[in-house]
């Protein structure tokens, strides 16, 4: 993989996560490699259960007890995250360097404390600051995300969904982290609030120079926000490229299918084409391309072995044995009959 910048902020190579379950090991994430550059928005898209959330839980060591993460490399600004001592990781990396905006901000505040106290807590855990200083910082942050600083005194249940989401973003910004992971930051909000929050995220990024990993199943959001995009399916990154490259020159059949499933202004009025079938269960070792059972272009090679990732252009990585036929795939993928056969 060609590095655009020689020193990426976060560099992950061959990350895998296995959950031990009563039905056998579940390979939730397999062989995931990516780089996040400084001041970049890196989007990860994929349908539910494709391993997006497990991936970030592995990065932040939030996996449940039965989950084990392994990686050849997982470096943040040169320090190997996986090899760090637990206490050091908790004190120096968590929130200080890598913070997150969780999937459901609704349930992410402790209901018994005021919102402001929770922001203060996250500051005081890592910095020597008096309560007054921390509160001062908290009201600055509330200002940044467009919330009235007086709301710091409120309890989480007094907030609307959009307010909680913004408060969560304020909290994620509290220590000026190098990387903010946003897991479905706009899911469950109406489009107006969604737009306001996305605008806020863009402004913050311009001002603060933090990098963002944006995780979502919403292609529209990811296309609008990201510099580069990784498409995940069945725990693997199927295709990875810069946003423009990915939308103009997609190679993987799954990417083509996903594109079909979203409306665009130019194709208004036409029926959307969905990909039939459902995602794999991921139980047991991966022995074929995870997308092969649903892929309209599958052949014997797809079912024989899991294809390796191939870099077809600078920064454009595809995991498909037939990537050379992508021009043909692209024209066929526009026909509904291709997907139904």
């Amino acid at each position: 993989m060609t590095e655009i910048n020689k020193d990426p902020l976060l560099s992950v190579r061959n990350l895998g996560v296995v959950y031990e379950t009563s039905q056998g090991p579940v390979h939730a994430v397999t062989d995931v490699s990516f780089d996040v550059q400084e001041n970049e928005v890196f989007g990860i898209a994929g349908e539910s259960g494709c391993g997006k959330s497990t991936l970030i839980k592995a990065l932040l060591r939030l996996l449940p007890d039965n989950g084990v993460a392994t990686a050849d490399r997982c470096d943040y600004r040169g320090s190997a995250l996986m090899k760090m001592e637990g206490e050091a990781f908790r004190k120096e990396i968590l929130w200080q360097e890598i913070s997150m905006v969780p999937q459901s901000a609704m349930a992410s505040f402790n209901p018994v404390y005021r919102v402001g106290d929770q922001v203060v807590e996250s500051i005081q855990t890592h910095r020597k600051a008096s309560r007054a200083e921390a509160l001062e910082r908290a009201s600055e942050l509330f200002d940044v995300v467009g919330l009235e600083p007086g709301l710091l005194k409120s309890y989480p249940h007094e907030f609307s969904g959009g307010m909680r989401q913004r408060a969560m973003i304020a909290m994620a910004l509290s220590l000026d982290p190098g990387l903010i992971i946003m897991d479905e930051p706009t899911t469950g909000l109406d489009v107006l609030v969604q737009e306001r929050i996305l605008r806020r995220i863009r402004e913050i990024r311009a001002e603060l120079k933090s990098s963002i990993i944006l995780i979502t199943h919403d292609i529209a959001v990811i296309a609008e926000m990201s510099d580069r995009i990784a498409i995940m399916y069945g725990g693997e990154i199927m295709e990875q490229a810069s946003t423009i490259e990915l939308f103009e020159n997609p190679h993987h059949p799954y990417t083509l299918g996903l594109k079909n499933a979203f409306p665009s202004i130019t194709t208004m009025g036409t029926e959307l084409i969905s990909i039939p079938g459902s995602p794999p269960t991921l139980i047991g070792p991966v022995q074929s391309c995870p997308f092969a059972p649903r892929c309209p272009f599958d052949d014997a090679a797809c079912h024989a072995a899991n294809p390796a990732a191939t870099e077809i252009a600078a920064g454009h990585v595809v995991r498909c044995v037939n990537y050379e036929n992508s021009a043909q795939f692209r024209s066929l993928a526009k026909e509904k009959s291709t997907w139904l056969s």
Partner: protein
């Protein structure tokens, strides 16, 4: 929880209101016992005519009657309130502190720590309650401290189990995950994030533990394992049993029995109100 919240919980129904005032009354009696009691608990009393007052039924002079040795039962009852409440509150408090810590730590850490702590509580569940206390008291002596110790050693087991279950469920909530992602330490998560969320349950079991301690103390005293130096409600019943006047002196067993029942049910009524907070399904719709 704010004081106002407690006020609302207690006033949520008539029974808990009643229970609350009964507990307040008994507490006042316990605090001012030496000033309220007209006689010393072991003073042989004489009536206004100068006659020895042995086995007198309730009257204006002896509102709750007297024992065969002429002790004033009203005075005994009032001083016994002090002993009973002291044992109840102290062992209730200590047992809930132990139970909460064991439950929170076992529930939060899980794995081996949970295994060890829960096997210890299982062993305690295997112990028959009264015989264990009787053996402990027989071994160490009949002082108040040992009675409290014996009750505490047994009674924390239920609160530990219940709080463990609750802690395990709260541990899975998103806000605990977020606290972890924010870099909060384990102790901080346990005591600052999980504990406040099990508080209603904790108060409920604190009330249960106090009620159980009172009953246990009364039972142990009735069997003759109470502290001989102080009067207690169970101890009064034990004296009655020893005197052999059970069938004659109805007033002698009436007053301590009513007090035990009244105080324990009051505690249960108040704890029921807290149980509705801990378990909203019990609420009236």
């Amino acid at each position: 929880m704010a004081l106002r919240e407690h006020y609302r919980i207690i006033n949520s129904n008539k029974l808990s209101q009643f229970g609350f005032w009964v507990i307040i009354l008994f507490t006042l009696v316990a605090i001012f016992a030496p000033w309220i009691a007209p006689h010393d608990p072991w003073e042989m009393t004489y009536d206004s005519n100068g006659n020895f007052a042995s086995l007198r039924p309730p009257s204006w002079e002896f509102p709750m009657g007297t024992t065969h040795l002429g002790y004033d039962l009203f005075s005994q009852l009032i001083l016994a309130t002090r002993t009973t409440l002291l044992i109840g509150v102290v062992s209730g408090f200590i047992s809930i502190v132990i139970g909460a810590n064991v439950g929170l730590i076992a529930g939060y850490y899980g794995g081996k720590i949970d295994e060890v702590l829960m096997r210890i509580t299982d062993i305690l569940y295997g112990m028959p309650f009264l015989p264990f206390i009787i053996v402990l008291i027989a071994l160490f002596g009949r002082q108040l401290e040992f009675i409290i110790l014996a009750i505490v050693l047994i009674i924390w087991r239920t609160s530990a189990r219940v709080i463990r279950a609750q802690a395990m469920s709260i541990k899975q909530r998103q806000y605990i995950q977020m606290a972890k992602a924010r870099g909060a330490s384990d102790l901080r998560i346990i005591y600052r994030h999980i504990l406040p969320n099990v508080l209603p349950l904790l108060l409920l079991y604190a009330a249960f533990n106090i009620a159980w301690s009172i009953i246990t103390e009364a039972s142990a005293s009735f069997l003759g394992f109470g502290d001989g130096e102080t009067v207690s409600w169970g101890g009064m019943l034990y004296e009655l049993w020893l005197s052999g006047k059970t069938r004659v002196a109805w007033w002698w067993f009436a007053s301590p029995s009513v007090c035990i029942i009244l105080l324990v049910t009051s505690l249960v009524f108040v704890s029921r109100a807290y149980e509705e907070v801990a378990n909203p399904r019990l609420r009236k719709r």
